[in-house]
Symmetry: D2
C-alpha cells in the first residue's frame, strides 16, 4: 500500500484526493492546505484522512511514501524539493516549475535519491491523446507535416502567469507526447488587453527539424470555447475536438499525391485524395485515474513515468522561450531541447 500526502485542496486537489482514494494499492493519508475551510470539506467527505495547515507534517511523516502537489506554480519548486529531500516520491502539477533551472534541480535531486518524479500532464493519460500517439508512432498517419491546436474560451484570467503558461502548457505536453520529437525553436506573439496584467492572447509557432511545424493558439478572451487540434500527415489527417461528447477523434483518409519528377516545379502534379473518415471508439477512463495508477506502478517497479521530470522540463523550456519571443514580437528563440534526455 502506497501512502500519499496531498498538498493543496483548491481547484485540482479534490480531483487528486478522489482519484487516489479509489485506486487499488494507494491510500490518501494526509491533505494539507493553509485554508481551514477547505480542510473542513476534506474531513466531511473523507473522515479517515488526516488534515493539516502545515505541509511539513507530510514531509516528516515516515509513513507517507509519496506527495502530490497541487498548489500555485510559484510554490512547486520549493515544495517538490522538500518532498524529495524527505525521501518522498513526487507528483507535481503542470507547469512543473517557474524556470528550467528549477526543473533541472528537481530532476537531479530525484535521480540522486532514486525517487519517482512525475509531472501531472493530465491530457497525456486520456484515451484520445494516447490513440493519437499510437497513430503517429505506428506511422498510420505517415510522415507528420504539422500540428495545429486552438484552445480558447472566456476566462479564467490569471494574474501571475500569462495565457501561455496557463493554457498552452496543455498543448505543449500533448504535442511532445504525440509527436515524440522535440522542436528546435519557437516564435511567439501575443498581447494583454488588461492594463498591468499578463498577456491574455498568444500564438506560438514551433519549428522542428525537417518539414514539421506546430502552432498553438490560446486565448482567455474568446466568445466561444474551442478545443481543436489538427494533425496533418502524408497518409492521413486527424481532427481532435475535445468538446465533442463522443467522436472526439476523426481520422481522415485525405491528402495529396505527387506525380512527375522534381526537375521542374511545373512538372510536379499535385493530386487530391479523399477517402473514408473513421472515428475510433476511445477509452473513456478518467485520465487522472489512469495517471494515478501509472504513478503507483512506477513507484512499485522503480520505473520512469511517461510524464517524467524531463517531460516537465521540456515544456517549461518552451514556455520560457515562448514568453521571451513574445516580448520580441515573434523573433525566433532557440530551444536546445536535444540536451534534455528523451
Amino acid at each position: 500500500m502506497i501512502n500519499i500526502g496531498i498538498i493543496g485542496y483548491g481547484y485540482w486537489g479534490p480531483n487528486l484526493v478522489r482519484n487516489f482514494s479509489e485506486i487499488p494499492g494507494a491510500q490518501v493519508k494526509t491533505v494539507s492546505d493553509f485554508k481551514p475551510d477547505l480542510l473542513a470539506k476534506v474531513q466531511a467527505r473523507y473522515p479517515k484522512i488526516n488534515v493539516t495547515t502545515d505541509c511539513r507534517h507530510i514531509f516528516t511523516d515516515p509513513n507517507i511514501d509519496a506527495v502530490a502537489i497541487a498548489t500555485p506554480v510559484s510554490t512547486h519548486f520549493h515544495l517538490a524539493l522538500a518532498a524529495l529531500q524527505a525521501g518522498k516520491h513526487v507528483l507535481v502539477e503542470k507547469p512543473m516549475t517557474v524556470t528550467s533551472e528549477q526543473a533541472i534541480r528537481l530532476i537531479e535531486e530525484a535521480e540522486k535519491r532514486n525517487l519517482v518524479l512525475m509531472v501531472d500532464h493530465t491530457f497525456v493519460y486520456t484515451g484520445a491523446v494516447r490513440k493519437m500517439r499510437e497513430l503517429v508512432a505506428t506511422k498510420a498517419i505517415g510522415d507528420i507535416y504539422y500540428y495545429d491546436s486552438v484552445r480558447v474560451n472566456l476566462g479564467l484570467f490569471q494574474h501571475d502567469v500569462n495565457v501561455i503558461w496557463d493554457l498552452a502548457v496543455h498543448d505543449l505536453s500533448i504535442m511532445n507526447y504525440v509527436l515524440g520529437t522535440q522542436p528546435y525553436g519557437v516564435s511567439a506573439t501575443g498581447m494583454s488587453h488588461v492594463p498591468g496584467e499578463p498577456e491574455n492572447i498568444a500564438y506560438l509557432t514551433l519549428f522542428f527539424e525537417g518539414n514539421l511545424m506546430a502552432h498553438i493558439h490560446v486565448n482567455w478572451l474568446a466568445p466561444v470555447k474551442v478545443r481543436r487540434t489538427l494533425i496533418g500527415g502524408s497518409q492521413k489527417m486527424i481532427v481532435f475536438d475535445d468538446l465533442e461528447p463522443s467522436e472526439k477523434l476523426k481520422i481522415y483518409d485525405k491528402g495529396i499525391t505527387l506525380n512527375g519528377n522534381a526537375e521542374s516545379v511545373y512538372q510536379m502534379m499535385i493530386g487530391y485524395r479523399t477517402g473514408d473518415m473513421w472515428s475510433p471508439n476511445l477509452d473513456m477512463t478518467e485520465a487522472l485515474r489512469t495517471e494515478g495508477l501509472h504513478f503507483i506502478d512506477c513507484i512499485k517497479a522503480g520505473d520512469r513515468p511517461i510524464t517524467d521530470g524531463e517531460a516537465g522540463l521540456r515544456v517549461v523550456r518552451i514556455l520560457e522561450a515562448a514568453t521571451q519571443s513574445l516580448k520580441k514580437q515573434g523573433q525566433l528563440i532557440e530551444l536546445n531541447l536535444a540536451e534534455v534526455a528523451a
Copy 2:
C-alpha cells in the same frame, strides 16, 4: 451605358461576364483569352459578346470604357498599365500586383489620367463583411482587441505563389476594411511540404498601435474546410463563419469587466459578462453584383471606389512583408502603411 472588356475567362472571368451582363447601365462588349476553347464557351453562352485571343483589341477599341482583368497575378501589372494608358477604367483581380512598386505605379497612372482603378477584393462587398464593418465603425463592439481568422482546406495548391498570396489575401482585405486602421508590422511563419513548391501552410500576426492585434491562419493541406473569423471587442465579440448557410454572423454580448484601481494588479478584479447572442439577417446579394454596381457608379460619378488602388497596395505590402518574415522564421517586418493615403 458603360462598355466593358474582360481579359481572362478561366476560373473567375465567367463570374465577371455573368454579373456585368446583368448589371443595369453596363454591358460586356468583348472578352479576350488566349485559349480559343474558352472563347467558344463565351460565344455559345453570350452570342452578342465579341471574343478575341488578343487583348490589345480591347485596349484599342474606342467604344470600350472599362477593363476587368482576371488573369494570373504576374500579368496584372502590365495589363492594367496598358489599359490605363489606353484611357480605360480598370478593375483588377486580387492580389493587385506582384510588388508594391507596381501597385504604386498603377495608382499614379490612374490618378494622372483621372481614371477609376479598383481592386476586386470581393469579400468586402458581401453582406456579412459590410455588417461587421458597420458594427466596428459604430463602436457597437467597443474597442477592438483582436481579429483572428482561419481559412484552411484541402487544395488548391498553387505553383507560382505561396498560400499567403492565395488565401490570406482575402483575410487581409477583409481585415483592413472592417478594422479601418492599418498594422505597423507583421510576423509570419510557414512551411512547404512539397519539395520545390511554395509554402502551403502559414501563420501571420499583424501588430497595430495600441493593444490591437490580428492573426491569420491559412493552409492548403487541412482535412476539413474552415472559414472562421473571431473579432474580440471590449463590449461585444463577433464570430463570422462563412460556411454556415444562414446565421453566418453571431454577435455575443460577452466580455470582461474590470473593477478596482490600477495601483496593484492584485486589486484589479476581472469579471465575466455573458448576455444574449444575436445573429442579424444579412443582405445575401451576390458580392460581385454589388461590387460591379459600385464600379459602374464610381466611373459615372468620378468617385473613388471602396477597394481602390491604395487598398490593393496596402494588401500587397503586407503580403510582401509577411513573405519576408516567413523566410526569417517570424522576425517582425515593419510595414510603413501610414504613408499610403487611406
Copy 3:
C-alpha cells in the same frame, strides 16, 4: 424551518438530498431506502441526516413536515397517499402515478387535508423552459402552430414501463407548461425490438382545438443523442436544443405572410419572411434548486405549486391514452382533460 423526509436514494434521490440540504428554510431530517449500502452513503456524506430502511419512520415522525418520493413509479401512489394521510406535504417523482384514478385520489386527499401536492416535473423549472413559456404567454411568438420534440439516445431500457412513460413524460410536462392549453386527443405508434419488453421507440401526435398540433418522438435505441424541440408560431419560431452547452434557445424571426383574399386558394399568395435570430441569455440555476425553493414557498404560503397534482394528472392521462393508441396502431384516443381543473 421545513423538515423534509426523502424516500428513495437511488438515481434521483441524491439530487433531492443535495438540493434540499442547500436550500434556505429547509433541512433534510431523514432519508429512507431499503438498501443499507445506499444509506451508508448518506451517512458518510451527511452525518447529521437520520437514515432508516423503513419509510414508516418518516410518516410517524411528528417533526417532519414534508416528504419527497423518489422511488419506482409503481410505488408512488401508496407512498404518497400514506404521506398525505400522515399530514405531510408531498413532492413526488414523475410520472405521478401508474393510473389517472390514482392521481385523482391523491389530489382529493391533498385538497381535503389542505396539503401541498407537487409533482417533480423538473424541466419546468429550467431557465430555457421558463423562457419559452414567457415567449408563448406574451404572444411574442404569435399564434402557436405546432410543438415538435425529439428525445432519443441509446439506452436506458426500462423493464416495467415503455419509452413513452420514461422519456415522453418530460416532453409532455414541458409542452403543457409552455403552451398553457390542453390537447383533446392523441394518436401514438411504436414498437418493441426486444422480445417480451415494452416499446422502445414511439411517436405521439397530440391534437388541440384550433390549428395547433404537437408531436413527440422518443427512442431508447438511437445512435446519437438528440434533445431538440421546435415551436412554430405565426410571428416567430423557436429551436430549443438542450445539448448545446450555451445558446440552448434560438428564436428565429421567420415565417410566412399571407396576401390576397380567401375567396380562392389560387389568389392566396404565400410569402416567406427571414429576419434576425436571437439567443437569449438564460438563467442557469439548477432546476431542482428552483423547484425546491418553490416547494418550500408553497408550503409556507399555502400556495398551489406550478406543477401541482392536476399537472401530474394531465400528463398521466396522456401517457395512458398514448399507450392505448399505440396498441391500436395510431387510432385517436380522446383525452377529456378539460375536466381537470387548470
Copy 4:
C-alpha cells in the same frame, strides 16, 4: 443514339436538359413548354435543340425515342399515356401520378408496348442512398429495426398537393429502395396552418411485417432546414445527414446486446455496445446523370429500371393512404402493396 424530347422547362426541366445533353449515347432533340419565355432560354443556351409550345410535336416526331416529363403532377398521367401510346419510352417526375389507378394504367400500357417506364425518384441514384442500400442488403447493419426521416424547412408551400405529396415522396422512394421490403399499413397525422390550403406539416408511421417500423416527418413551416435519416439495426446504426457537405453518411457500431433467457423479462439483461464510427467516401456523381445513364441503358438493353412503374405505384399508394389516414387523425390504413410485383 437515343433522341429525347423533354416536356416542361420550369423548375426541374433545365436539369433534365443539361444532363441528357451531356450523357453519351443520348441527345435532346426537342423541348416543349407552353411558356415562350422559357423556350427562349432553351434556345439561347442550346441553339441546336428544337423548341415548341405544343408537346404533341414531340409525340408525333418519329425520330424521338423517349420522353421526359417534368410538368405539374396533375398532368403526368395524360402526358405519359400519350407518350407511351406514341411508342415512346417515358421518364416521368415523381410523384408518378395523382392516383394509383392512373399508375397501374401506365404500367399496363408500357408492358403491352414493351416500352421502358421509369419514375424520376432522383435520390435513389445518389451515392449516399446507394451506399445505404448496399449496407442494408448485405446485412452489414443486421436486422433492420426502424427507419426515421426528417425533411423540414421554410417553404415552398404548394397549392395543389399537401406536404406529404411534395416532401415525403422523397423519403418514401428512398425508404422503399433501401429497405427492399414493403409496409402493410400507414398511420398519418398533419395539419394546415393556412386557411383553404393543404396540410403543411405531417407525420407518417409505416408498419412492416415483423418488428420493423418507419416514420417520416415533413414540414414546410420550420425555422431550420433538416434532412436527416436514422436507420437502426441489430448490428449497426446509420445517420444520413444530406446537408453535410461531406461525411453525409455515418455508420455507428452501436447497439444493444441481449443476455439471459426469455422465460422472464426480468432475467433479460440488456447491454449497450459502443464501437467505432465510420463515414465512407461516397460517389459524388450528380444523381440525375447516373439516372439518365440508367434510363438510356434500360432503353438499349430492354431492361427494367430500378425506379420502374411499380416503384412509382408503390409510392403513390402510400401517399394516397397517408392522406386518407391524415383525414382520420392517425387511423391505420392498409396498403396491399404485396400485390404490386416487386
